[in-house]
Structure formats: structure tokens, C-alpha cells
Amino acid sequence: MQVAALSLRGVRRDSLNHYREDLSALLKESAAALVVLPAYSALLLALETGRLAPGEDFPALAESYRAMAPEWNVSFLELHRDLARRHNLYLVCGTLFEEEGGCWYHTAYCCDPRGEISGRQRQTHLDREQRELGLSRGEELEPLPLEDLRLGILVANDVRHPETGRILALQGVDLVVHCGALPAGANPCLQVAGLWSQVQQNQFWGVEAQLSASLGRREFSGECAVLAPCEITEGQTGYLARSGPEAPLAAARLDREARREIMNRYPLLKLLNPRAYRGHLY
């Protein structure tokens, strides 16, 4: 299976038509069965298509988004469901802010090749700024079906908390995708401490989409990557593909046999020691 992560760099966002056109071209170029978009994609598109007033800082933008969310979220998801159906692929279309039961969540959605929503994942670990914005934590981490594989989604800051990847791995997830947005100039070690480390200690594949755009006077820039256990990557780096911040996508093919072989030879999860964790972690 071919998978890809997009940064949204180079994708025109001044109108929905341009966005659809440019994203379609990249989806085609990726030749992937699964494509992942970065965090804050809905906020970015709302801002750049003129639905949100520019000039506000990031927290103010996120606050303003709430008023338009009920309507815009539907349009945003319809757009990406249509793209998934047209290109016959799974599309994790980045994230949006949504309200339910009086609580606001930061949520990623996955659209399947039929154009249906196959699942969603709320951010479960919030950073300080998000807590100050009044967001609530999701309380579920459930695998989604992806052909005959199991897919997990990590939203933004979730990737820095190893509990998230472990919960997914223990549920048999094969592939974890990450919708991320790192400030430009951020320490590159942050990404290694994030999904790369999750992949290495859980032996699933990882697809990391980092936003490359300006949003609310804040520049975001990171590296898109496709990750695997070190042993099954060239040079044992853990990377099957990486884009660099200037490139719009990273794509790679997943080798199921290679992953199965390393999991048999080095069964990390079977060497867990739950007896030592009891009373501390559960």
C-alpha cells in the first residue's frame, strides 16, 4: 500500500475551487491509497477563502472559528469526502474545531473511498495554549478500518504522549497517522521525539503530515514523513520517506512482510511487563 502525507505547501487556498484543483493534483501525484493532511486544515481554509477575518492572532482566530464551525465544518468535510471518492482513497483531511454537548474539541476526520466519514479522532492531550482556549480532551482512541489494516490517528500534541501510541498498538493498529502543526523554526528534535519515537516503540507504520503555512501571524513548518521500525528502513533510520519543509508531500510504499518479520523477530509488545505496571499505570 502506498501512503502519503501532505503539508499543504503550494496548494492555493484563495478559493475552494483552487484548493480542490491543487489538492487533486497532489492526490493524483501521490498515487496513494491513504493521504494525510496536517492539523488546522479547516481553520486555514476558512481564513484564506475569506470566511474568517485576517489579522487576528492564532488564539483569536481559533476563538472566531467557533461561530462559523457548525456550517463550515459540514462544507469542509463534504469537500474532502468528495475528493476521497473521486480519487478512490482514504483521506485524513486534517483537523477542525467542533462542539458537542457544550464542549469544544480539536478533531481529525477520515473519509473513505466511498466518500463516507469512516471515523474521527479527537485530540486527547492538550497543550497549555489549547487548554487556555477552553478545548476539551477526547476520551477515546479507537482504531479505524483501512482495507484489511487498522488505522489510528493522533492529533497534534497527542503524539508527544507515548500512552496514545501504546493504546493504539495494544489494539492491534498497524498504521498511525499524525495531523501536526509545528511552529516554523521549531527544534527538529521535536519530530523525532514525537511520531518517530512512537513508531519505534510500537512497531507500527507512521504517516506524519506537518502544516506548512502561515496562520494567525504564526508560521508553521515541519517535515512530512512516512515512518517504519528502523530495521525495515534504508540505513535503519526509521524513515521510508521524508519531505523536508520545502516539499509538499512525502510518500512511500508499506512492506507488510518486512514489518511482520521484524515483529516476529523482535516482539516488543510481547515483552511488555504488565505486572510491573499494575498500580502505577492501571
Partner: protein
């Protein structure tokens, strides 16, 4: 029972005689250097040394004693208050056993080679045989060195018999020479499981005037659970002794202590056993690690040796007050206890682990293969 004939028993008595406490202490007394008392510090800054030991097999135990003294002294002269030795730090003492190198070649071939013959003696047989010699020797060496130089020494880990089991056990000594505590390795490498080593089931933190110390072993750093449990118990400095039997690769080595230090967050000290012995190539780069926010270059590294195969000592200062401040005012850390309780209570049970019963170890150790870093 293997290694229990009269010749073996007699030879062990000879080893006990050669390793007797009085002889070791006398040797150390003749070597010890008078130094000014180390800086007691303010209790919130600690100078730590991670020792990288290049392995040699010693026929004469006093040569091993000398080696440990030389490395300790080097760390003390660099101002270290806490000195950390590597995993399997008793491997050099197997040189006391006649024919061990030949036996090693026979049972632990290089990559792709078949064992030259089926061994009659297992790894755990050997550990049980030398255990009564090694245990008091290690205690004498490191308690004496800690007391003489008034430093904390995490003496590394040792394969040691414990009842009918064999454990991979790390040991900590205080500046008065007292035994502070032990930590059994909680996550084993596949080859250790194959050898019949047993694993520990408890992770402990030891409060000291230097700070709250913990010292899980090697593979334990592959699992976030180790550091999370220690952090919850208040650990500030986590020492990881390693002995990685694989060619060095930067990325493989990155899979252990470094990400764990970022996740916890704590200070991390990695000591490494390196070099070739008994058909294994051990590699690593000893170092001192910290949360990225507390390192000058932002890379999470305070000090790290350059060579993955040569002896050396990495020294750095740890600011425990800065660590506490980071924990109190962390920009991105969060906790979601409801999520953890919802999943972990049942998910961990899906992964039962079967320990080899005592004495059921495979007689033929295999090549270790790739190993996650530490």
C-alpha cells in the same frame, strides 16, 4: 547439576580465595588517591559521569579491580558526584574461568556461523557457578570505592543468581559505602529470555541527598512505561546501564533513553559496555541527557562520547531545580487519566508473557540480532 563436580567445586574455592575481601581491599588501599572532599553542592546541582567500559576478559581479579578503580578515579577527578557503570559489568570476570574464550567461540558463533558443538553448560549454569564469587567481589569493590572517594556509584548491572532464578541486577552504593538499593531488569531482551534469565516486577526510586535516583537496565528504556512509572514516583535522575550486542547505528541507539527523557521528563545517564568479547560486539555511546528545554543546543544532549567502541567518560551537570520548574510550568505536557484507565486496565492483559521455568533455558545461545537502543 552441571558444574558441580569436585574439580569445579575446588576451582570455585580457589576463585573465592583469589577474590577475598581482604585481598581486594588491600589492593585498593594501595591504589587509592588522596583527594580533597568532593563539593557537596547545594543538593540541587549534580555532576554526573557516565562511564563507557571497553570490555576485556581478566584472568586475574585484581586487574578487574584496578580497571574499576581507574575509571572511578577518572570520574572523581572530573568532579563527578554520581558515577554510572554499564550493564553486564561482570562479563570481564568470566576471564577467570579457564577456557571461557574457546567455549564462547563454540557456543556463540559469529553471524551466519553454526555453533561448533552443542554446549553442555547453559549461560545460567555459568552465572550460578560464579555468582558466589562475583557478588561479594562487586560489593567489596564498589562499596570501597564509593566510600574512599565519597561519591555515589551505580555499579552497573550483573547477572546474579537469586534463589532458583538468575536476574540482571543493577546496584547503587552511597558515599559512606553503604548499599542503597538494587533494581532488577524489568524488560528482557529476547536472547536473555532464551537464556533463562528472569525479569523483575518492580521499578523503584531511591531518595538521596543528590536527588531521587532510579536505575532500570538497558532494554527497560525501550518502554515508555518504565520512565512514566519512575516519574510518577518522583524520579529526577534515571540511570540506564547498557550492553548492546549490535553494530552501532545512530538511529537504533536513539530508541532508548533519549526519547524516554523527553517523555518523562527526567535527566538520563547512559553508561555503556563496548568492545568485542565471546563472539559479541557491544557498542554504545555513553552520555548524559536532558529534556530538550534544558539543554544549551536544544537537542536533549548534555554530554555524549564520540566513539561507540572506545572507553571514555561523559560528564555533565544536572540542574534539578530547573527540572522541577519545567515540570511545574510545562508548555505541552498533559495527562488524561480517564483515557488511560479506560484502555490500559484491559489492554495490557492481552499480552501475557511466559517466563521460561528455572532450568529450562535453551542450551544454545543464538546470535542476538538487532536490538532496540538504550
Amino acid at each position: 547439576m552441571p558444574l558441580d563436580g569436585w574439580k569445579e567445586r575446588l576451582f570455585r574455592r580457589y576463585l573465592l580465595y583469589k577474590c577475598r575481601e581482604e585481598r581486594v581491599r588491600r589492593h585498593l588501599r594501595s591504589r587509592v588517591k588522596k583527594l580533597p572532599a568532593p563539593d557537596p553542592g547545594d543538593g540541587r546541582r549534580v555532576r554526573a559521569a557516565a562511564v563507557q567500559v571497553e570490555i576485556k576478559l581478566f584472568k586475574e581479579p585484581l586487574d578487574y579491580v584496578e580497571e574499576m578503580h581507574r575509571l572511578t578515579l577518572e570520574a572523581v577527578e572530573a568532579g563527578a558526584q554520581l558515577i554510572v557503570f554499564p550493564e553486564d559489568n561482570n562479563l570481564p570476570l568470566l576471564g577467570m574461568l579457564p577456557g571461557v574464550e574457546e567455549a564462547g567461540k563454540a557456543v556463540i558463533p559469529g553471524d551466519g556461523e553454526a555453533p561448533k558443538k552443542e554446549p553442555e553448560i547453559t549461560v545460567t549454569d555459568v552465572i550460578r557457578y560464579v555468582g558466589p564469587v562475583v557478588r561479594p567481589l562487586i560489593h567489596t569493590i564498589f562499596s570501597t570505592l564509593a566510600r574512599w572517594y565519597r561519591v555515589y556509584i551505580m555499579a552497573g548491572s550483573y547477572l546474579l543468581p537469586e534463589g532458583d532464578r538468575v536476574m540482571n541486577r543493577a546496584i547503587l552504593y552511597g558515599p559512606d559505602g553503604s548499599f542503597i538499593g538494587k533494581q532488577d531488569k524489568v524488560h528482557l531482551m529476547p536472547i536473555e529470555k532464551e537464556w533463562g534469565i528472569s525479569r523483575g516486577s518492580k521499578l523503584e526510586v531511591f531518595p538521596t541527598p543528590l536527588g531521587k535516583l532510579a536505575f532500570p537496565v538497558c532494554m527497560d528504556a525501550t518502554y515508555f512505561e518504565t520512565f512514566r512509572i519512575l516519574e510518577k514516583q518522583g524520579a529526577e535522575i534515571v540511570m540506564i546501564p547498557i550492553a548492546n550486542p549490535e553494530p552501532y547505528n545512530y538511529w537504533l541507539a536513539l530508541r532508548g533513553i533519549w526519547p524516554r527523557v523527553q517523555e518523562a521528563p527526567v535527566y538520563g545517564i547512559k553508561s555503556a559496555l563496548v568492545g568485542r568479547v565471546l563472539g559479541f560486539e557491544f557498542t554504545g555511546r555513553a552520555g548524559v541527557f536532558a529534556p530538550m528545554e534544558l539543554t544549551p543546543r536544544g537537542d536533549g544532549v548534555l554530554a555524549e562520547l564520540e566513539s561507540p567502541g572506545k572507553e571514555g567518560i561523559a560528564v555533565a551537570d544536572l540542574d534539578l531545580e530547573a527540572l522541577q520548574e519545567l515540570r511545574r510550568n510545562h508548555p505541552w505536557r498533559d495527562s488524561n487519566e480517564q483515557l488511560y484507565q479506560r484502555y490500559f486496565s484491559h489492554l495490557y492483559q492481552l499480552y501475557p508473557y511466559r517466563e521460561a521455568p528455572p532450568g529450562a533455558a535453551s542450551p544454545r545461545p543464538s546470535s542476538p540480532g538487532a536490538v532496540p537502543g538504550s
